[in-house]
Symmetry: C2
């Protein structure tokens, strides 16, 4: 979990702006360092939250719908749900499993184990109306690579979280989730510590990386051209990736 | 949605500390004003996030387990799950419906329509080992009353969010959610706006109050005696309560 000094800190959530349209092969670390410099921020002793879109774009995870040959299953779903069969085909190919289908929505489990609408295949904020953006192939590896590039071989206390905007059961509205992370423990496990009255806390394991993604999401509303956010006031601690926090299907009541 | 000036703001998330143990009938607004003063913060033009525990305590929503006569159903569940039947009885009485049961966990829909473990009935951070704390009776009304007391009849730009820590499907770890709110729109609806490439955004409605609760949750880890947080750098806009953002059962794929 992020360390706090004995005096609780104020967190500062600082937008990183002015990042140009990210092309495949772009040096994302360099673009982020330049944005941080403009914001007078040094990317150390804090957490960088980067939206999935620019990571995927830099990695070239874009597909022209014109290149897609939809399968029969994709065509059937597209017909029933009045969707573009080529988009549906991409969704199916990015999915390990369809979790729910209804009201024209496909909730999918991706090959990474993330559960989200359309397996994260998205046409918004893409370079063209027919260009779909896919999630990174390995989101934790993308976060780790970005972290390495930012640390430039030096020891550095830097958490990197890649975030995406997901819907949730039971509640309207989208919230930003961590889909990849590096340089900090995804979950802060407080179990076994005493609570205020000395009783042992039973089930308090906070999903730190998701709280950080959501905090960044306050600024990263989709029309604001804020694809990254710097969070300072907490020191990242521990290690691990988002993959570790995905529930074991055997103990998940919602599979 | 919270307004942003044309220059995106830095958000500041400021812990409010030194709040004494809250007794039933306590003047929570006065306690929060005093804490804000100590943090050199004026509670205007921002959002106050307050954890559910101190709201429930001030409202006297506490029950001594010794006073509970468990029903047969509660006794049966308690036997099967090796739990305290009096706690289970309280959970059932606070629930409109059991959403899932398994692995010793009861996921409930509360009478407010919130979906969470144990209908929010919690024994941690309570005044004694046998004292259970219930959610406020009407969380939006509690947020509105607190807001009114803080504004003292003046016009004031103040959002109030009451947060609680919930588990989620598919992911380990808890995240803070809004359970009540006042003085701001719970959801920022961006549908119909153009995205960066001019394409109309289809489904972008951000659950602002949940993002704010999660951001506050970074500081409000359970052992830290930070029961409230002040968020500045965004102006609350709109109105409404959390109840409005609970999904219509008819369109919820997870009911």
């Amino acid at each position: 979990m992020p360390a706090r000094s004995s005096e609780p800190n104020t967190l500062r959530i600082i937008p990183l702006t002015g990042i140009p349209e990210v092309e495949p092969g772009a040096d994302l670390a360099a673009l982020l360092r330049a944005a941080a410099e403009r914001a007078s921020v040094s990317l150390a002793d804090g957490v960088l939250v980067v939206c999935q879109k620019i990571v995927s774009k830099a990695e070239g995870r874009m597909v022209d719908l014109a290149s897609i040959e939809p399968s029969e299953e994709a065509q059937r779903i597209a017909r029933e749900d009045e969707r573009d069969p080529r988009h549906v085909e991409l969704v199916l190919s990015e999915s390990a499993r369809i979790v729910r289908r209804g009201h024209g929505v496909l909730i999918c489990e991706t090959h990474h184990g993330l559960v989200c609408a359309n397996a994260g295949v998205d046409l918004s904020n893409s370079p063209g109306p027919e260009i779909a953006i896919l999630l990174p192939k390995d989101c934790d590896a993308s976060a780790a690579a970005l972290r390495d590039a930012l640390c430039q071989g030096e020891e550095c206390r830097l958490g990197v979280v890649i975030s995406d905007t997901f819907g949730r059961p039971w509640r309207e509205g989208l919230v930003d989730y961590a889909i990849g992370s590096a340089g900090l423990a995804p979950i802060a496990d407080l179990r076994g510590r005493p609570d205020l009255s000395g009783r042992e806390l039973q089930v308090t394991a906070t999903a730190t990386v998701d709280q950080l993604a959501a905090a960044a999401g306050i600024l990263m509303v989709k029309d604001a051209a804020i694809p990254a956010v710097w969070i300072e006031g907490l020191l990242p601690e521990g290690e691990g990736g988002v993959r570790e926090m995905l529930r074991d299907p055997a103990t998940d009541l919602f599979r």
